[in-house]
């Protein structure tokens, strides 16, 4: 099963198995990983599932689609080139080893 690593602001790391097709957001919420609020439940309405993808694993992802891209301009913490909405990142073999950093706050 693809493994995803979540790094908190304090450097605390958690690696979990996220079943294929499950989003990186849901992987966190279902494993009590703090730092992702996901107010809208993954419906691309809230931008409170913002993560910074570790530069070393950025190449595992396709670039964001237009709507995600627009929403990323409204995250609570500043947008960076490696910003993504974790509800739009679906786990797959390609994502195995992905590392994401959760931001300081989501809203």
């Amino acid at each position: 099963m693809p493994k995803i690593t979540y790094v908190a602001v304090d450097g605390n790391q958690t690696t979990i198995d996220v079943p294929e097709g499950t989003s990186v957001m849901r992987g966190a919420v279902f494993n009590d990983i703090d730092g992702i609020v996901a107010q809208c439940g993954g419906n691309m309405q809230c931008a409170t599932c913002h993560v910074y993808v570790d530069e070393t694993t950025l190449d595992k992802l396709e670039p964001p689609k237009e709507r995600e891209d627009e929403m990323l301009d409204f995250t609570a913490c500043p947008r960076k080139p490696n910003s993504r909405l974790s509800c739009q990142l679906k786990s797959s073999d390609a994502l195995d080893g992905l590392i994401v950093h959760t931001p300081e706050r989501q809203n």
Partner: protein, 423 residues
Amino acid sequence: MTDRTQPDSVVVVGAGQGGYQTAASLREHGYEGSITLISAEDALPYERPPLSKAYLKGEADEAMLWLRPATYYVRQSIDLVSGTVTEIDPAARSVRLADGSAYGYGHLVLATGATPRTLDVPGKELRGVHTLRTAQDAVALQASLAGARRAVVVGAGFIGLEFAAVAREAGVEVTVVEALDRPLARVVSAPTAEHFTWLHRSNGTELLFGRGLKALHGDGRSNVTAVELADGSRLPADLVLIGVGVTPRTELATAAGLEVDGGIIVDAQLRTTDPHISAIGDCAAFPQVRSGNRRRLESVQNAVGHAQAVAGRLAGSPRAYDELPWFWSDQFATTVQIAGFNEGHETEVVLGSDPDAFSVLLFRGDDLQAVESVNRPADHLAARRLLTQGTDLTPAEAAAPGFSLRTYLRSLAERGTEAPVAL
């Protein structure tokens, strides 16, 4: 945790969006008392929006609807009880369940939601006639849809239209019958409504406005076969979805002597007329910050926001609930998002020249009430920020050529009149 007014136990009736969030937010606030979450549904707390969208299309399984896995409730010491509360005893501060068991409470939160309205017409009990509120309803509807050829949707509200879109995409012939003269009449402005009329018609759905229902007809095996309209015309149908709104579940509150008027009456802190009982979400009629008018709203944001406010108060940090309402709906590939609450507008300003992607700003005098965005997510988020921080934007300014919500928001931040926003 030093606040002496904190109740030692919280019982929540209803484990939907609001009930779940109350329990979760109490623990997030460090509340250490006991939490009992009572659910009439035989399922882990789940979200409803996908029931008329991804779940209905078969794109999500049941576990994808869950707000949290079962282990969460154990880890957080949230006692998830399955059963229906039949009675509140406000004097003894306890609730009784259908199976006779009883739970005492320090504070009680009513998060009972709403039930779909039914139409009082002959034939409403025929097989193939549905309403949609629960996961169970969605499973039944999905099964009907799999064998359906002609669906009739009664009511062009959000749920009716979302279902109509899914049915159409599944290759079913769809007719929507609406008593008023346009879709979503009570919830969106005319330009947005017009867009949705176009969207559904261009996807091959028939929309009939200003038409009432007289009866549903069935065959010898009690399967629905036709819908008869008030004018006597008949529409063949093997599936009927009744989407004519909901009734708040207030019966427990009424029986307990709480004030109820089109919803459980609560104050700005979401307290009912009994100080030991709060009500939240779809069942609660609460005062709007801006107008003071009491309203009931039906949205995820509203249920979550109410729950967070009540949990905060019970955990020792009381505040008046003043969150901006927002809502969304997906139909075909189109998303409409609404920020704010329109209490009756006088001016509409449409932004964007693309007929498929625009926003409608609704003003009452110079007061921006709400913004409806069709396929313009950035406008929606900008509008949420603007309406939350308060704005003196006038209709004339908004109508100026080249006006953009995002640029306007940025200019406010640059002028330093508002807290800087990440843009």
